[in-house]
């Protein structure tokens, strides 16, 4: 499945789908933030994904982080909700999905860091180093919101 991101682009196709998902800010003891390098586009991103029917959002984010990075986490608080209608993802089966992600600050409870099929690299970065990485603006916004330290304040 290929995916093309459109971010405030005039040629974006019209969204026809809305799927709730979650993204995770996982920080280590030194405050460095966990990023994964996506195998589909080579960009650095937060771990995360969409929720399955039958699970809670807490289960969804723990499952996605475990699958993508090997770490076991628990969501501790909500950073914000990201639902920008100007950001859509076009899949090659005709689905055009609008952005919908709840971002959670998570705490590590176990596991061992390792990459996965979806993530070719997984690494903790000091916030200042993230500025120089290839990160989508929608992901950068979530990291900036997290660093402001105001849980539940960001309704995007």
């Amino acid at each position: 499945m290929t995916r093309i991101d459109y971010y405030h682009q005039a040629d974006a196709p019209k969204a026809n789908s809305l799927v709730p998902g979650a993204s995770a800010i996982v920080a280590d003891n030194e405050g460095r933030i966990l990023l994964q390098r996506r195998s589909d586009n080579g960009r650095w991103a937060l771990p995360g994904g969409v929720m399955d029917i039958g699970e809670s959002i807490a289960q969804a984010i723990a499952r996605e982080v475990q699958e993508e990075t090997g770490l076991t986490v628990e969501p501790e608080r909500i950073v914000g909700v990201y639902t920008d209608p100007g950001h859509v993802f076009a899949y090659n089966d005709g689905e055009v999905r609008q952005q919908f992600s709840i971002c959670f600050a998570c705490r590590i409870v176990g596991g061992d860091l390792r990459p996965s099929r979806e993530s070719i690299q997984v690494k903790f970065f000091p916030a200042a180093e993230i500025d120089g990485l290839n990160v989508h603006p929608s992901i950068r916004l979530r990291i900036e919101d997290y660093l402001k330290g105001k849980p539940g304040a960001f309704i995007r």
Copy 2:
């Protein structure tokens, strides 16, 4: 369209749908909380509803509160996220939707309180009076979480 709520019931049908929605805590200057009496089941509930493709979640909650109560509001902070897989809504077209609601504390910026087709009564209640009303436990939980005053802390 009829809707049957199943809340941790052994005879609940299996969910086949997940639709992101929002609910609003709207308080007046005296801290009383706005409830609407639903026309479909007669219970008192928070205003809210599901998001439309093409709008942001902030637009969705403002639209729903306006439609149901006449008030114009802006979401100020996130109370919590409510995604209990044990709570499903069965519709008579075969859809069985799992609970998915983000609850927002909202501020009133205009409008005039009035009921609607979906809400036969709309009224502000002191928190203590809500205990005695016919309110679904899933809605009561959101009000209790709001009253704890910890934005972004509730991941349900």
